[in-house]
Structure formats: C-alpha cells, structure tokens
Symmetry: C2
Subunit: 170 residues, 2 copies
C-alpha cells in the first residue's frame, strides 16, 4: 500500500507521543525512587537559554497537533500551556493523542500540494507545500522536542535507552 | 504528487544531514573563537553512559545509510568509524550524502511491504515491513542522533537555534 499524507503523519505522531509518555513514567519513577522533587526535572534545561522540560513536552504535542490541523484543515483544540507537573504533562500528551485519533485520514490525504502557512518566530510566517511542510518542518520539529525531552531526563540520570525511545515501534 | 518510499526518505535524510554539517561548522567556529580545544566537543557526552558527539554523528549517518540500503537493496559503503575531528566528521557526512545521491529512487519505491531484517543490540534481529521500518525505526533513530548532536553543542554554549536545526527546509 502506498504511503499517504495521513499514513506519513498520524501513526508517527501517535507512536512517538506514546513513547514520550513512557519517558515521563520513567522520569517520575526515578525522582520518586531517588526521593528528589520531580519538579527539578520538570523545570530542567540543558542550557540557560534552552526551553525547560515541560515546554519541550508542550511543543512536541503542538508540533503534532498543529501540523495535522494545518494539513487537514480540522480545527485543533487550544491548550493553555499551563502544565507544571508530570501528571499534567502526561494528560497533555493523552489529550493530543485523543484529538489526533479523531482526525479522519481522508482530511489529510491529498494535502501534498496544499499551501501551508505557519508562524515562524513572533512576527513572520512561512508558506510551504503540504508534503514539504510535513517532511522538512513538522516532523523534524516534532522529533527535536521528543528527543530533547529524552536528553534532559538522560542527562539527569533517568535510566532510559534506545529501546525506550523506540518502545512503540511495531 | 503522492508520497513514495523514496520521497519519504531520501530528501529528509539529505536535508537533515546538511543541517547536521551546519551544526559542525558552528561548533568548530565556537571552539576556535573561544580558543578551546575542539576535541572537547568531539568527545563530549550528555551523560557518562551516553555516546559522545562523534558517535552521534557517525550513527546519524549510519541510520540514513543503512536505512536506505536495507529498503533499496543497494549496497552501502562501509565506514570505519574512525572519525575523531570536526573535519573528519564533516567528511563522513559528505560521503553519506554523496552515496545517498547515487541511490535510484526506483530502488526504494515499492518497498512498503518488503520485509526488512536488521540488528537490534548485539545478538538479536528484528523484522518489520518497509514502511513501518522507515516511519517507526529508521527516521526516529536518525532524528534522535541529529538532535542529540545539536543538544551536546547547545549544552556547551554553541549558538544554535531552531532556525539552524531547520536551516535546509525548503
């Protein structure tokens, strides 16, 4: 069966968001086992001018949600970006996955040549064709934040490995 | 135009490997400007049991090269994994991109349902269908190492931003 815009987007976002939720489980369990405040991880940054862990999770969710919304034309729910605990971040991921599951594949399929206009920074927009947008913007951006979340936990001693990063691959 | 196995793989790997080479340029320039030994960056790890920067680059290249080789059936060159400088790592990326450019799209197209068997860890193999392998294994693994390389540089003060990470997107 040939690849379509829906099959090149929805399953990747869903699977990796499930993996991301699994990282959170391990991060929280690690903090509890070592008896340190899980908020240290929630607020941790790899560099002073990088975004903290909770923002990495929020933006990973948004990369999936906004990417699919723009390609499909299906309106996405707005999230308030107010998650400050592991439990709230897990719920954010779950809400994102639940919404992705409501988007009909047919709304994504055929969007290869659709013009997608999206914000870049605070004051600019950019327009790309749907297929290029998915492959060169939405997916790389999504993986960036999933992997950075992983790196923050790993840097802080959470026992994660490549098998955790790829745990949902079937 | 519908997405194909070649269009869902080759342009993503090529573009992101170009971006990765750009990170190297900035990393080396940073070390030279600050007058510290670039080898500190080459050997840097985010955690004692994570792989160092040079291995992240090598594995990013291999994720692209081996992924395309397995899907296409075109034999890939073997690299010796002996890069220990920025210059050698840039050459590794360039050799990988040069090889990717020789792989005919037609050899990748139609590989959606091909059984792909690949090593997992030291003693095991796994088999997935081509499309699932690309979407849930080869691409996530590739982005993992590109992003981890970025994170190592960022953690060490190299001035990189999202616009660098996505610099080749067109």
């Amino acid at each position: 069966m040939a690849i379509s815009m829906s099959s090149a987007s929805l399953p990747i976002f869903r699977t990796m968001l499930g993996n991301l939720s699994h990282f959170l489980d391990k991060g929280l369990a690690h903090a509890q086992a070592r008896k340190f405040d899980p908020q240290v991880l929630v607020n941790y940054r790899l560099a002073p001018d990088m975004l903290p862990f909770n923002r990495q999770i929020q933006i990973a969710c948004d990369a999936a949600k906004n990417g699919v919304a723009r390609l499909s034309g299906v309106e996405a729910p707005k999230f308030e970006d107010n998650e400050t605990t592991f439990e709230e971040l897990r719920a954010r991921i779950a809400r994102t996955v639940a919404w992705l599951e409501t988007v009909p594949a047919a709304r994504l399929d055929g969007s290869e040549d659709k013009d997608i206009t999206f914000p870049v920074g605070r004051d600019a927009t950019r327009t790309m064709k749907g297929e290029a947008y998915l492959k060169h913007w939405a997916l790389p951006n999504f993986f960036f934040h999933v992997t950075t979340a992983y790196a923050i936990l790993r840097h802080n001693g959470v026992e994660l490995g490549k098998s955790d990063y790829l745990i949902g691959a079937q």
